[in-house]
């Protein structure tokens, strides 16, 4: 009897690995659900301003994005720190906006084209000059539905 008892005391029971697949699957599901796929890499910093009256953008497939902000640190040597425009995945200038809008339009189905919305993701420290220029270009391209991207402030309510 005593022999048995001692044997049990010395040996640590092995940790059961039966639940490992559960945990792995759980993590997998968690990451699958919570990650949003970003189709473009951001070259500019866009720290969005806060606004309490923001509304959700209804249909993401109808939205095209224009990013305006100072270039990210690794590009500052090349492009400086002044705010620049990013369309899709490269730095662009004002002239390219019209082409961008028309190519976005072309990619949409016929009946959706009228509902094209442009979301301006502008860094909060940007000066309005470049934003005004972009807005003028959008008017010329008759992409009139715009949305100033902003975050809902956390402290309210």
């Amino acid at each position: 009897m005593a022999k048995f008892a001692r044997k049990g005391k010395n040996k640590m029971p092995a940790i059961s690995t039966a639940s490992l697949p559960d945990i792995v699957f759980m993590l997998l599901f968690f990451f699958m659900v919570s990650t949003t796929l970003r189709e473009t890499e951001l070259f500019v910093r866009t720290k969005l301003p806060e606004a309490s009256e923001v509304t959700k953008l209804e249909k993401k497939s109808l939205v095209s994005y224009i990013y305006i902000g100072p270039p990210a640190r690794q590009y500052q040597g090349l492009f400086g720190t002044d705010s620049r425009i990013q369309l899709n995945d490269s730095f662009k200038t004002l002239i390219d906006i019209r082409d961008f809008i028309s190519s976005e339009r072309e990619a949409m189905s016929e009946q959706d084209r009228a509902y094209l919305q442009t979301s301006l993701k502008v860094d909060q420290e940007t000066r309005m000059g470049i934003v005004t220029d972009v807005k003028q270009e959008l008017r010329k391209a008759s992409a009139l539905k715009i949305s100033y991207a902003a975050k809902r402030p956390v402290h309210e309510h």
């Binding site: 039966a18 639940s19 559960d22 945990i23 759980m26 599901f29 968690f30 659900v33 919570s34 949003t36 301003p49 806060e50 606004a51 309490s52 009256e53 923001v54 509304t55 959700k56 953008l57 993401k60 939205v63 919305q117 979301s119 301006l120 502008v122 860094d123 909060q124 420290e125 940007t126 000066r127 309005m128 000059g129 470049i130 934003v131 005004t132 220029d133 807005k135 003028q136 959008l138 008017r139 010329k140 008759s142 992409a143 009139l144 539905k145 715009i146 949305s147 100033y148 991207a149 902003a150 975050k151 809902r152």
Partner: protein, 179 residues
């Protein structure tokens, strides 16, 4: 074990927020067809001018103002509750659910400089939209006992006719020098 796994799963599902795109939606005015400017004749009392200069200072109706005051002032302008002769004129129109209502003809004219910072611009935009939203909510509460966002589409349209969102952004001007 399975219980713990599910518990964790549910915990994460509840606590993670997917980042949704939010923003202030706006319509830009269409580009004028001809080159010559068509200056619309609007009476002075019907315009509420908001100017932001390059050092982010506000000038509202010719007087400097703090951003915190803007919402109240805008609400007063849009609704003109006391029929002040300096505030916008009113039209009488027929609106569903409400019958004949007096609707003010005010237009907010927002002008900024090229040097204005975007965060200031958004603050002002936000205050202007907030003024409209508050008025719409007030009338929705008194008439239907609900918030504006909880109303049906027809009811929202009726309120939109009473308080139409009229913010005009003037043609860009550069006064403050370097952008």
């Amino acid at each position: 074990m399975a219980d713990i796994a599910f518990l964790l799963l549910i915990f994460f599902l509840v606590t993670t927020t997917m980042n949704v795109d939010t923003g202030l939606a706006r319509m830009l005015p269409p580009m004028p067809e001809s080159q010559d400017k068509t200056e619309q004749d609007v009476k002075q009392r019907n315009i509420f001018t908001v100017l932001i200069n390059k050092s982010d200072r506000l000038l509202v109706e010719g007087r400097p103002m703090d951003v915190n005051m803007l919402r109240e002032k805008t609400k007063e302008f849009i609704a003109n509750p006391n029929n002040d002769p300096d505030l916008p004129e009113k039209d009488v129109i027929d609106v569903d659910f409400f019958g004949t209502v007096e609707v003010a003809k005010g237009v907010i004219s927002l002008q900024n400089d090229r040097g204005t910072s975007y965060s200031m611009y958004m603050q002002v935009q936000n205050e202007l939209v907030a003024a409209y939203n508050e008025l719409r909510n007030e009338i929705a509460r008194t008439k239907f006992g609900k918030y504006y966002n909880d109303l049906t589409e027809d009811q929202q349209k009726a309120i939109q006719r009473i308080y139409p969102l009229r913010i005009s952004e003037a043609e860009p001007k550069s006064v403050g020098g370097k952008n």
